[in-house]
Amino acid sequence: MNTMQSSTTSATTSTMRFAPINLGRWLVWSVFVVLLVVAPLIFNKGAALSILCQMGTVMIFGLSYNMLLGQGGMLSFGHAVYSGLGAYFAIHAMNLASGGSLPIPVSLIPLVGGIFGAVFGVLFGYVTTKKSGTTFSMITLGIVELVFACSLMFPAFFGGEGGISTNRVMGQPVLGITYGPQIQVYYLIAFWLFISTVGMYAFTQTPLGRIINAVRDNPERVEFIGYNTQWVRYLTLILSAFFAGISGGLAAINFEIVTAENVSAVRSGAILLFTFIGGVGFFFGPLIGAVVGVFLTVLLSDFTKAWQLYLGVFFIIIVMYAPGGIASLLMMNVRLMVYKRFARVWPRLLSMVVATLIACVGAVMIIEMLYHLTLESANGTMMRLFGMQVDAAGIGGWLIALALVAVGLFLFVRARPAFRHTWDEANLEIEEMIRKEHA
């Protein structure tokens, strides 16, 4: 009797919270679409465009990786296996298609990658997902090394270290689309990125998507609410491998070549780095991670030889001070904005950021001058830094750099207590508000 009553009342009162149409969400997705459409108009130079394309494929890859890491707590060292093998099958499909023996348009090639990614997910996942935790990580490491070694041993399929190449321009153009110009490839990637993102977001909103969260938190208990955790992990991995395969297929179209590095531990490690930098706790974290990651690895290496150092240091800083990744930093500020506390915080935040920037400029100068001295000094010790001519062997540059670091640090230390204080205060108030809201 009692039970009946309470359940009916709760159903009526709670339907108000139960809002299937979510304006905010529509807005976010629309902005996403607009960004995808507009980005190449802003970054329209050839190389910028190809960077955008890479970011697109890495985004899908990262999102699929986060299905494991962020949502399932499965730290994989071998996710590139799925994207890489997907890419290989995609490129073979393309070669078959251009040979006329497989009627499939280029636009659907990513699907081939996805399907084969999933097939290998079925295959390898059966082995890897039997276990979780470190054991899972280690099996994935073993598998990626095996697949990588095989890729060099069986050149017939993998093309040896030269890989397999293809020509994406084939058959008759459809609606004038040949996929010759990069911009057309971009929009193909953007299209699939959008579809995949929607797909993977939708996954988080399904029963399986929620249960994998539960498995991440407490696998043991999941067994006692009727679920086989091994299956939950396995299915999630297959789906994740599917999307990884799509990203592989797109990469194949984009580069027109697939090489062994696509299935390597290095590639797997990179996506782990990117995803973590972006933030594993939020769905969109990997999107940020892809942008930052591609920027650091592809673009930065054009500007400086020290890019790996920057990448490593940046990553370490994230791990130490923002383990939630960039996304979590963003969301903390967004929360302040939503609760209208940002106005109070931002001046302090700004001074912190400025101080950090100053110190960073100094640190970058030091690093660049060091690199120049050890690597380039044969060509003269003069170098360009931030648009200035600096003599790496001269005392001047070093003094400036050290001064910048010192000033930056000083300002930072000075500004921190005040920032901390306002920040904590604002957040405390927000927590208070939330508590009241719920009460």
Partner: protein, 390 residues
């Protein structure tokens, strides 16, 4: 006009030392050419693009180089990256007429690149691996003490080619020589070569032929010395950055390499460059192809009076230039440079025929024999497609 050449090779990661050294070599020669006005009115500038030893990354770098207006590209570290670049350049030139790019391959030695994959846009200024094997086996043929040969290589396409070529050519020239074993090991994975050496030893080989490079070569030779294996090593890459240091005395008098030049050649041609390079970079100049490359480009610019890649490419076909190893010819049929090759042995510096050492080890390369270009020449299966309308 300032002609910018994009050098797309590894500048970070494990292969960085090699890439960096060769970039300096290009820059050194470019400086010299500019100073000495090899092509009046034109200057050369070589800029590095880091491809991180990855074929895919090479393509990104190619794109960004093309974006920045580069029309000449050079690369050499790794046939895989070479094939990828070549493929991409073919496609680019086809899709973007009027913006063609020419590719100077200075060291990627896969024979396919000038056979089945040959392209009008590529000019290879190193000898391909078959040519080197031809030279090597020609040399070996005259050594009656060679009776049992063991072939060991890295398990990838280059390693396979070396194995195949060594077997074929030895069979042709010295049918009496016994191939007592051939092994392929994964590239860059073997830490301990002792088991391989034990195997070689068990086979009774007196000569080892290997296409190994980098640490794989150095460790192989060290392990041989440790086990006191008395066999000669015929290598391709004994002289590349890092190997001399790592090999040191362990390789003395038993390691040979085949190459297009070394500074201890007759008359020490090019010793000024070597000395200048050493002074400036405290490193060794060994990538002599850089000299050939710039010399050829300069001559072509002078002939066609423009730096337009298409015209220059046509001009370079069949061109003969003088390089540090004598007169060389860019064969028209496949764009494979024909040049003399040398066999040299790792020997303690003696001031006479071994004046210059490598990597400050006190050891250098003693030239054993010069093999003339025609001897090493190989037939080609290339069916060159040339752009029309010229």
């Amino acid at each position: 006009e300032n002609v910018k050449i994009a050098f797309i090779d590894p500048l970070s990661g494990p292969f960085a030392p090699v890439g960096q050294g060769i970039l300096y070599s290009w820059q050194m020669i470019a400086d010299q050419a500019n100073k000495e006005k090899w092509s009046p009115g034109n200057t050369f500038e070589v800029v590095g693009f880091d491809n991180k030893a990855s074929p895919q990354e090479s393509l990104s770098q190619l794109k960004s180089a093309i974006d920045q207006g580069y029309r000449y590209v050079t690369q050499g570290n790794g046939s895989a990256a070479a094939a990828a670049l070549l493929d991409a350049i073919n496609k680019h030139n086809e899709r973007n007429p009027g913006k063609e790019v020419v590719y100077i391959n200075y060291a990627a030695v896969d024979p396919d690149l000038t056979n089945s994959k040959c392209s009008f846009w590529q000019f290879r200024i190193d000898a391909n691996s078959d040519m080197k094997m031809e030279a090597m086996t020609t040399f070996m043929a005259k050594k009656p003490e060679i009776k049992k040969v063991y072939i060991i290589g890295q398990n990838y396409s280059f390693g396979h080619q070396v194995t195949r070529a060594a077997k074929d050519y030895l069979k042709r020239k010295r049918p009496d020589v016994q191939i007592v074993g051939d092994d392929l090991h994964p590239i860059g994975q073997v830490k301990d070569f002792a088991p391989y050496i034990a195997k070689i030893k068990a086979s009774g080989a007196d000569t080892v032929v290997t296409g190994n490079w980098g640490a794989d070569l150095a460790l192989l030779i060290k392990a041989a010395k440790d086990a006191d294996l008395k066999a000669d090593f015929y290598t391709y890459y004994g002289s590349t950055t890092g190997v001399p240091t790592a090999m040191g005395a362990a390789g003395a008098d038993r390691v040979k390499y085949v190459g297009y030049w070394n500074v201890n050649n007759e008359g020490f041609v090019g010793k000024e460059i070597v000395e200048g390079f050493k002074k400036k970079y405290n490193d060794d100049y060994y990538a002599m192809a850089t000299y050939t490359g710039i010399a050829m480009l300069a001559k072509a610019f002078n002939e066609v009076k423009t730096t337009d890649p298409v015209k220059v490419a046509f001009a370079m076909e069949g061109m003969k230039v003088k390089s540090l190893n004598g007169e060389v010819e860019m064969r028209k049929a496949d764009h494979q440079l024909q040049q003399p090759l040398y066999i040299a042995t790792w020997t303690k510096v003696n001031g006479k025929d071994v004046k210059y050492d490598q990597e400050n080890t006190g050891y250098g390369w003693k030239t054993d024999q010069k093999i003339d270009a025609f001897v090493a020449a190989q037939p080609t299966s290339c069916q060159m497609k040339r752009p029309s309308g010229q």
